[in-house]
C-alpha cells in the first residue's frame, strides 16, 4: 500500500487498490445539483461560490445560507440548477473569443489625442 500526504488532514493510502471512479451502476439517490451565487454586499455583483444538492429551489436557498454565509459573507443568494446552465465550450475557446481580439479600436487607448486636450 503506497501513501501520500494530501488533502488538509494528512496522509492517505494511494495506488491502484484505492478506486476513485464512480460506479456506472450507482442509482442516483442524490438531490439535484444547484450552483450558488452570493452578493457579498450591496453594490457588488453576485459571484459563484460553489454548489450543493437540494430537493427543490427553496430548500436550495436555505442550504446555501447555511453552507456559504455562516459568517456574514452575503446579503443576497441566487441558486440555479446546474443542469439549466448553458456555457461556452472550452474546446471552442479560440473561435468563440477571437473575434474581439483584433478589434483594438474598441479600446480608448486606440485613439491618439494631444496631451493638451483637457478632461479626456
Amino acid at each position: 500500500m503506497s501513501m501520500t500526504s494530501e488533502g488538509g488532514h494528512g496522509a492517505v493510502p494511494t495506488g491502484p487498490e484505492v478506486p476513485v471512479e464512480p460506479k456506472a451502476s450507482t442509482a442516483r439517490r442524490d438531490w439535484p445539483l444547484y450552483e450558488v451565487f452570493v452578493r457579498g454586499k450591496r453594490g457588488l455583483n453576485h459571484v459563484h461560490v460553489g454548489s450543493l444538492h437540494a430537493p427543490d429551489d427553496e430548500m436550495a436557498v436555505h442550504a446555501a445560507r447555511d453552507l456559504y454565509t455562516r459568517r456574514n459573507e452575503g446579503v443576497s443568494i441566487w441558486v440555479v440548477r446546474a443542469a439549466d446552465i448553458t456555457a461556452s465550450s472550452p474546446d471552442e475557446k479560440d473561435p468563440m473569443f477571437a473575434p474581439s481580439g483584433d478589434k483594438v479600436y474598441r479600446h480608448p487607448t486606440f485613439y491618439e489625442i494631444p496631451d493638451d486636450v483637457p478632461h479626456m
Binding site: M1, S2, M3, T4, S5, E6, G7, G8, H9, G10, A11, V12, P13, T14, G15, V18, P19, V20, E21, P22, K23, T26, R28, R29, D30, W31, L33, V49, G50, S51, L52, H53, P55, D56, M59, L67, R70, R71, A87, S89, P90, D91, E92, D94, P95, M96, P99
Partner: protein
C-alpha cells in the same frame, strides 16, 4: 446581413491538448473543470479531494462527542460552530470533486465501504475535554500547514475551496489554544489533563504530514502538476518550528526528548516517528476506525427517509 460563420477547427489531437495543459501548468495558471486534463491528473484529484472531504466529515465525530459535555454555554456554542464548519468544509470539497465528474452519494458509499480512506488522525479517541483544545491547537494547526499551500493548487475549484476552508481554520486553531490557556490557568488537575492530551496527540499530529518524501511515491507527480506545493518533510518541519514556541507559551512539554533547536539551521530537530503505528491505523486497526465508519453508515441509512420525504414533497409541488 448575416453574421459570418465561425470556422470550427478540427478536434485537436491528444498531443496538442497535452501541450496546452502542460503550458497552463508551466505558466502557473489554473486548470478549470471543463478543460482537457490528463486522466491521471483527474483521477488523482478525485482521490485526493474525496479523501480530504471524508476527513472533514469523519472529523466531526471526535469533537462532536463533547458537544453535550462542554462545560459552559459559551464553550458549547463555540464547539457547535466548529463542528458545523467541519461539515461545511466537507461540502465545499465534495462540491469540488463533483466538478471532476465524481458523484457525491457514490463517494460517501465508498467511504462507508472502506474503499476510500480518510486521515489517520480521526481514528484516535477524545478521552477528556482537554482533547477538544488540543485538536484545535495541534490537529487543526497541522491541517493549516497542509492546507495553506493548497490554496495555490493548480486545480481551480480545489484551490478556491481551500481558501474558504483556511479562512475558517484560523478560528478553529485559536479557539483550541484559548481553551487550553484557560485550563492552564486553572487547577493542577486541569493542567495535568492538558499535558496528558498533548502527550497523546503530538505524535499522531506529526504523522498527519504523511511518510517521509522518499517513501511517498505520489508526491513527486503531484508536485510536478502543482496539485501539491511542498513535500511532506518540509511541511512537517514547518509545523514543528511553529508549534514549539506555542507550547512554551502554553507551558506544556512536547513528549519528545530529542526535540532541540539546531543552532545552525534555526530549525527544530525531532525524534523518529513510529510509522508502524501510522500504517496500522490507516490499515483500519486504530482505536476508533470501526466506530467512525459505523456512525457514518448509521447517519446515511437512518436519515435516508428524510432525503426521500423531501424528494417526494418536491415532486408533488413541482
Amino acid at each position: 446581413m448575416s453574421a459570418p460563420t465561425l470556422d470550427r477547427p478540427a478536434a485537436p489531437d491528444e498531443a496538442a491538448l497535452q501541450a496546452q495543459f502542460d503550458a497552463t501548468i508551466a505558466a502557473d495558471h489554473r486548470i478549470e473543470p471543463r478543460d482537457w486534463m490528463p486522466e491521471a491528473y483527474r483521477k488523482g484529484l478525485v482521490r485526493q479531494i474525496a479523501q480530504h472531504a471524508h476527513s472533514e466529515i469523519i472529523g466531526m465525530q471526535p469533537e462532536g462527542d463533547w458537544l453535550l459535555a462542554a462545560p459552559s454555554l459559551r464553550r458549547k456554542a463555540i464547539l457547535l460552530a466548529k463542528v458545523q464548519d467541519e461539515a461545511g468544509h466537507g461540502m465545499y470539497l465534495y462540491s469540488a470533486a463533483e466538478t471532476l465528474g465524481a458523484d457525491r452519494a457514490d463517494l460517501t458509499d465508498k467511504l462507508i465501504e472502506r474503499k476510500q480512506k480518510y486521515s489517520s488522525i480521526f481514528n484516535y479517541p477524545t478521552l477528556t475535554y482537554a482533547d477538544v483544545g488540543v485538536i484545535g491547537w495541534l490537529v487543526d494547526g497541522a491541517a493549516i500547514c497542509n492546507q495553506v499551500p493548497l490554496c495555490r493548487s493548480s486545480y481551480g475549484p480545489y484551490a478556491r475551496a481551500m481558501i474558504r476552508v483556511c479562512k475558517e481554520e484560523s478560528f478553529h486553531q485559536r479557539q483550541g489554544y484559548e481553551l487550553l490557556m484557560t485550563m492552564m490557568r486553572g487547577t493542577d488537575a486541569q493542567r495535568a489533563m492538558v499535558q496528558d492530551a498533548v502527550d497523546r496527540w503530538w505524535w499522531p499530529s506529526l504523522m498527519m504530514f504523511g511518510p517521509p518524501d522518499d517513501d511517498s511515491p505520489n508526491s513527486a507527480q503531484s508536485m510536478k502538476w502543482g496539485v501539491k506545493r511542498h513535500g511532506n518533510d518540509e511541511l512537517r518541519q514547518r509545523y514543528v518550528d511553529m508549534t514549539v514556541p506555542q507550547a512554551a507559551v502554553l507551558g506544556v512539554t512536547l513528549p519528545d526528548p530529542e526535540l532541540a533547536l539546531d543552532p545552525e539551521t534555526g530549525r527544530y530537530r525531532f525524534g523518529p516517528i513510529d510509522w508502524t503505528e501510522f500504517k496500522q491505523v490507516l490499515a483500519g486497526n486504530g482505536p476508533c476506525n470501526d466506530e467512525r465508519i459505523a456512525r457514518r453508515r448509521a447517519a446515511r441509512d437512518d436519515n435516508a427517509w428524510v432525503t426521500e420525504a423531501a424528494t417526494a414533497y418536491a415532486e408533488k409541488h413541482a
